[in-house]
């Protein structure tokens, strides 16, 4: 029983409803306390301040500035998210090779430690900047604003932001990207979209990677896509193998179309007012 609010007897405890650990007070609100009595009211008269401020407001303001820069320069920016080991970096290397001579590409690599991924990307032929988040489990829009200031992606180019391998935390942090792309390797199991629904709800595209391994696995692709669409009916699905190159053409076509559209709208905005290109 919570000794504070007199909210002990008859309180409802909700289980299996995304509300574990929360309990209902007499006024109907759900609360979560460190331990019973942790929020016992003090003797002195409190001075209260209304704040009403969103925790993600500062991140979202940085994201809006990043997005404005991308729009101004016609840069098509994507935020790639996945579990560790889904093959994101290999997919990016393959993508860079396929786009060589067609579209300038640069990459922001997010990892907790090491510069290994940025080195792989540079070896594949694209400009890359490594952001090490240390203990941090995701990139935020402020880190990305510093990274783009340093990387200085070319107007009309494709910017691929490879987030820290993590299907939870990066979902909440807008970086200013045009789309989140979730990469799911088919070695991971088809129920990932239900286990990590926030990420699949936030993404516009799901790339099923490592499809060359399908003959060796019991991965149920139709079920996986069904689960993803339960969370996000509009999600676009692409199938790739970064190893064999299967499906890379369709992925690259989608990237090139997005980059063309971003460059076109930047040119139109920059043109004289009232003139339709």
């Amino acid at each position: 029983m919570c000794t504070t609010c007199g909210c002990g007897d008859g309180d409802t405890r909700i289980e299996g409803q995304g509300a574990e650990g929360w309990h209902r007070h007499a006024d109907g609100t759900l609360h979560h306390h460190a331990q019973p009595g942790a929020h016992a009211h003090g003797a002195t008269d409190p001075r209260r301040l209304r704040i009403e401020q969103d925790l993600l407001a500062a991140n979202d303001a940085h994201a809006a500035r990043n997005r404005a820069r991308f729009a101004h320069d016609g840069i098509f920016a994507l935020n790639l998210v996945s579990s560790p080991g889904s093959g994101k970096t290999t997919l990016l290397c393959r993508t860079i090779q396929a786009l060589r001579g067609l579209l300038p590409v640069s990459v922001i690599e997010g990892d907790q430690q090491t510069r290994r991924d940025a080195e792989r990307i540079r070896a594949a032929g694209a400009g890359a900047l490594q952001v090490n988040t240390g203990k941090g489990c995701h990139l935020d829009a402020h880190m990305v604003s510093h990274a783009i200031a340093q990387l200085d992606p070319a107007p009309g180019s494709l910017l691929l932001i490879e987030n820290v391998g993590n299907l939870v935390c990066p979902a909440a942090f807008d970086l200013g990207e045009a789309h989140k792309v979730v990469v799911l390797s088919i070695t991971e199991g088809e129920d990932k979209p239900l286990k990590y629904p926030d990420m699949f709800a936030a993404a516009d595209v799901m790339v099923l990677n490592k499809i060359d391994l399908a003959p060796h696995l019991s991965f149920d692709e139709a079920a996986c896509i069904g689960y993803a669409r339960r969370v996000n009916p509009q999600i676009r699905v692409l199938r790739t193998s970064a190893t064999t190159g299967a499906g890379i053409d369709a992925w690259v076509d989608w990237l090139a179309a997005g980059a063309r559209a971003a460059a076109r709208s930047a040119t139109q905005r920059a043109g004289p007012r009232g003139v339709v290109a």
Partner: protein
């Protein structure tokens, strides 16, 4: 543990409030947590305790107030309680309900001295 950076945002909001409305100490923070916001209450609490050390919020009580999820069905338009994003519409059975409440995280109020 993105709760750590979210807890850091709480401290920044408190410092900004202190700059506007001078106070020395925070005794209590009311934080609204949307139940669809992918925040773990215990992780949030541990993170707040860690990042509030040596700030004016050290020792403050963190009161988490849940904001239940609600969603609108894209097929039939019904508004319903949404405990998880993958839940079906109670009216037509369709999926992909668009959350209209319960995704946010906001500092609602402070008790200060």
């Amino acid at each position: 543990m993105h709760e750590l950076s979210l807890a850091q945002s709480v401290i920044e909001i408190i410092e900004n409030a202190a700059a506007r409305d001078a106070f020395a100490r925070v005794r209590k923070v009311w934080l609204e947590v949307g139940l669809l916001s992918c925040v773990e209450p215990d992780a949030m609490r541990a993170s707040f305790e860690a990042v509030s050390r040596d700030t004016r919020a050290e020792g403050a009580v963190l009161e988490l107030v849940a904001v239940p999820g609600r969603g609108r069905c894209p097929s039939c338009g019904t508004l319903s309680a949404l405990a998880a994003r993958e839940d079906a519409c109670p009216s037509c059975g369709g999926y992909g309900l668009r959350p209209v409440a319960g995704t946010g995280l906001r500092v609602r109020e402070l008790e200060v001295e």
